[in-house]
């Protein structure tokens, strides 16, 4: 049974927008001589934010700090305005879906979620009702009485999601939430995460699968070697990378070589290009100023009859930004 479809629902904003629901100020964290995070200052506001970085970048350390599992060696970590380390008042507002494969396998999914709710402060009866509701939400209503040891990876991921949601958290941290899920489950999980963000919750999603994060949000934090390399919307970050010209692909309806050549001549004359390449299908132009180029192209389409079949930026994606910054 799938995760309940949420896209058809009207999602209501339930939480006041906060620009700094998660706030790290000058945070360093080291393990003996090894630095996990190095002087990180970061604000994460309401909505979905992707936390990206290669293995060993410091993502897990950051998530552990934000969920109060470890304390900072230096600096201050606050969630919803309060220090988070070992602070039950803040932990009640945080849900965490950790990247942990292990469970108490003898428990059923229902027992697991019920225990999570009970420990969050619900009465035993309320906890049982809460577990039923959340198992239905994540599509495990029928499998709730099976032991977790018999669950597939995707089902384990869902039961982890259910335990993260028991206290209706304002801040939710996901660590590799799509691991082991089938394509349908992934899509549903992405929709659910987006819906949570639309409700005004603060969602921090850590993943190394870039296209999945891209499907959830435009807003990212890139982290590498324990430092924040960039944060903001992907396109804004991309536009700041002046050293890497944008590669814009243009394909015309009328794919005659002379038309391509004519278009290239006009672009060279009227736009600020750093490079230009032809091939049999179209042309790729390089520019550090894509917006003026698009305005020129608009004029050529309207005034000179160049009919464009395809137009896209080849390296305006999260993956390209990540490559430029990290690799």
């Amino acid at each position: 049974m799938p995760v309940q479809a949420v896209t058809r629902e009207v999602v209501r904003v339930r939480f006041e927008p906060r620009p700094d629901a998660i706030e790290l100020t000058g945070v360093s964290r080291w393990y003996g001589p090894v630095i996990g995070l190095n002087d990180v200052s970061l604000r994460v506001g309401s909505g979905v934010t992707g936390l990206l970085g290669p293995n060993g970048a410091g993502k897990s350390t950051l998530l552990r700090l934000v969920t109060g599992q470890i304390s900072a060696s230096l600096g201050d970590v606050r969630v919803l305005g309060e220090p988070v380390f070992q602070n039950p008042n803040v932990l009640r507002s945080i849900g965490c879906c950790p990247d942990l494969e292990k469970f108490n396998d003898e428990w059923t999914g229902r027992q697991f979620v019920r225990a999570a709710a009970y420990l969050a402060g619900f009465s035993a009866r309320e906890a049982a009702a809460r577990a039923n509701d959340l198992l239905a939400l994540v599509g495990l209503a029928d499998a709730g009485d099976r032991v977790i040891g018999a669950y597939s990876k995707g089902m384990r991921q869902r039961v982890k999601l259910a335990q993260a949601l028991v206290a209706d958290p304002e801040v939710i941290v996901f660590d590799e939430p799509l691991t082991g899920m089938d394509p349908v489950g992934r899509r549903q999980m992405v929709e659910l995460v987006r819906a949570f963000g639309a409700e005004g919750r603060t969602i921090l999603v850590s993943s190394h699968v870039l296209h999945e994060v891209e499907a959830m949000t435009e807003n990212v934090v890139l982290i590498h070697h324990g430092r924040v390399l960039a944060e903001g919307r992907v396109h804004e970050i991309r536009s700041l990378l002046k050293g890497y010209p944008h590669h814009i692909r243009i394909e015309l309806e009328e794919n005659a070589p002379e038309r391509r050549r004519a278009l290239a001549q006009r672009l060279v004359a009227e736009a600020d290009l750093a490079g230009l390449r032809f091939d049999d299908e179209g042309l790729t132009v390089e520019t550090t100023a894509p917006d003026p180029l698009f305005r020129v192209l608009e004029g050529l389409v309207v005034d000179d009859g160049f009919e464009v079949r395809k137009l896209y930026a080849r390296d305006d994606s999260l993956e390209a930004v990540f490559d430029y910054l990290v690799r």
Binding site: G32, G58, N89, L91, K102, N104, L119, G121, A167
Partner: protein
Amino acid sequence: MIHAVTLEKRPKPPGFVGGALRVARVAPFRVLRGRRLLGLALFAFVPVLLVLLMRVEGEPRGLGVRMFVDMTTNLHLTGIFQVVLLFLGAAAIGDDIDDGTILYQRLRPLRRGSIVWGRYLACALSGAVLLAPATVALYVAQLADRGVDALLESAPILLTVLWIVVLASLAYSAVFVLLSLLFRRAVLIGLGLTIGWEVLVSRSVPSNAALGTVSFHLRSILWHSTSEGKELGRAMEPFEEAGLIPTPTASAVGLLVAALVLVTAASVVFGRKELKEQPGDA
């Protein structure tokens, strides 16, 4: 359906004591399941099985309260209680730390100390629930065929031994819960402690070191409460001559205070403990 997540009001986080009781109620005890439970139960019932074996081998009657006290001294207090509580104590929290699943409780709005106290209470309770029936069964096996009067006449001794079961569960659970937080191989270290410290020191040449063992205090409570144990009396003589045997009240209070201190220390250790954190994960 996303509205299923919505709560009108988030529950208040449980307080320290409330949190500990909640943890105790849901503490998953892997050791109390399946074959390991069967193994521990069999181990706790070894003295009963020995009595039944003796009866099959030709001993026509149970050997009475003196034998009950001797078997309690030489079997229960010299290995069985310790081993059963060692496995329970190590499983109470150490196993979940080793595989990381304790994280699911640390993510809840609970004081870390209340997690330790909850698991400790669950461990002590489980130990008492496992060991008390074994004690009663041994008592019944030794005295049942002497009639109800014999059973009732010696009931105070049974009650004393049951009180010892409670104290042993509280004290050893504290020791082994702390050990499981300090060491990955808590069972091995606990076995070493049981044999090297609890058994040898508590029975060796009379010295103040014996006062630092749990089993010496348990034996001295039993010694004070009964004149029935022949072997117990003989073993305690040198300690009595050296003036080392505390009063039952002093022993009981000492054990309870020691348990309190050890579990508090365990709470501090757990509060600072970082889970499976390798820099490579960072």
